[in-house]
Amino acid sequence: GGDDGEQRTITVLAAASLTETFTTLAADFEAAHEGVRVRLAFDSSATLAEQAVGGAPADVLATADTTTMDSAADALAADPRVFATNTMVLVVPADNPADIRSFDDLGPGVDYVVCVDTAPCGKVAAALLSSADPGAEPASLEVDVKAVLAKVTSGEADAGLVYASDAVAAGDAVTTVEVPGADAQVTTYPIAPLDQSQDAELARQFVDLVLDEEGQQVLRDAGFGAP
């Protein structure tokens, strides 16, 4: 930790889907701790986990699935704790060119996109698609869920499978359609302080902020489910 009066900084590595919520939380944290700056680095969970193991100068790691968090186990200062969950929904552009009202409307002639199955969101999507087969292959396997959302909001795709939180973040740009069986495929978001932290106390405080009521409210507002 830094001396009094000096600027203290903690760095938080967070999954890309946490961009809005963690930006808000970081601002809250800075407001509550004078002289503290929170640096946020967003990327895919796998990349962040690898950076954490590689010794990246960071204090907290928050990923979008438990598998990647487990892969960073060596770098963790404490056991990871789940702070949010997410489920998949189908989104269509606001003008809904393919006229999709339910999941069953997916089919031949509809360009829909999902995550590639090497990405965490892709595993969930693959499971959903195998249980509720729409009868047509996706047009593209996007690298992450934000790419899926971008394809839908830009009108390049007729529909896409994204997290509920992403649908909320997109606001009026998309219309949400329920996916049958989504409740059975819940994604969990774990968070943990890192070994290499230079300011373990602050790191712990940030984790606490995410887990306590204030943090949970922000996450709920963004469409995440409770742990």
């Binding site: 895919s44 969970s45 796998a46 990349t47 690898e50 360009d111 996109v113 590639v116 090497t118 990405a119 292959e137 996706p138 047009a139 593209s140 396997l141 996007e142 690298v143 992450d144 790419a147 971008a150 394809k151 830009s154 009108g155 390049e156």
Partner: protein, 264 residues
């Protein structure tokens, strides 16, 4: 013609930085090779996913080089030889895609040629839908690779100079004949270097491709896209895949450079 011996040995002041540069470029490659799980190499190579991605990569990069040569050579000639208003602007515009991060290049392509893009309605009326197709991959690759080609060829045409073009004109040659028989042959080293640059850039491209054309095995998933997506799940496998791409391209490069690019 001249024996190196009689011109003297290369001086240290050049050798030392050259060695440093070579080390910087070669060392990461060597450690990548050392780090590759070679045991699984052949398995991966034989997998259908990899086969499809390799095929698509070859097709896309080949088509890109062809497109660059056919379209980029005349553009380079125009920039090097013809004096017209707006030449400076066009020249800067040609260089810009170099500067765009690939993903942004993809976004730019989407806004221009995507379904809701500027030309989207026009294309739709013509019954053409580009996104999620192999032609879209080639367009994305050409967009990011062409500037390298054009810059290289324009430079070569400039340094070859107009001197022999003028001689050809005195012999009655039209500009097209002059281009074919004089300008182009004299700029050949630059054309070849440019083709290699464009080809290499195309081989490594995925950012613009994924954004504009998508990522689906067999139609739009090239090796780099496959590697990128695999990297998220299994870095080991991704390394093996990288090694496959790398070896394939080194083999081709070595063959090319020794055959065509060595003649002075």
């Amino acid at each position: 013609m001249t024996t190196a011996r009689t011109l003297g040995r290369p001086p240290l002041v050049l050798l030392v930085p050259a060695a440093l540069a070579a080390a910087l470029l070669v060392l990461p490659l060597v450690s990548l090779v050392l780090d590759t799980p070679w045991a699984t190499f052949l398995d991966r190579l034989g997998s259908r996913e990899v086969g499809e991605a390799l095929r698509l990569t070859a097709v896309a990069s080949g088509a890109t080089v062809v497109a660059c040569v056919l379209l980029g050579t005349p553009l380079a000639w125009l920039l090097a030889r013809v004096d017209f208003r707006g030449r400076a602007v066009l020249r800067a515009a040609v260089t810009v895609p170099l500067v765009l991060p690939p993903v942004v290049a993809g976004v730019a392509l989407v806004t221009a040629l995507g379904r809701t893009g500027v030309l989207g309605p026009l294309l739709r009326e013509g019954g053409v839908s580009l996104p999620y197709t192999t032609p879209a991959v080639v367009i994305a690759h050409t967009f990011v690779s062409m500037p390298f080609y054009v810059l290289s060829v324009e430079g070569a045409m400039r340094s070859a100079g107009e001197r022999y073009d003028v001689v050809a004109a005195t012999l009655g040659a039209s500009r097209w004949t002059t281009f074919r028989r004089v300008t182009l042959p004299l700029a050949m080293p630059g054309v070849l270097a440019g083709a290699v640059l464009a080809w290499a850039r195309s081989l490594g491209e995925f950012g613009a491709t994924i954004t504009f054309a998508g990522n689906y095995p067999g139609t739009t998933q090239t090796m780099p896209s496959l590697i990128y997506t695999t990297l998220q799940a299994d870095p080991e496998v991704a390394r093996t895949l990288s090694m496959i791409l790398l070896l394939a391209s080194v083999a081709i490069l070595a063959a090319l450079r020794n055959r065509w690019l060595t003649t002075p």
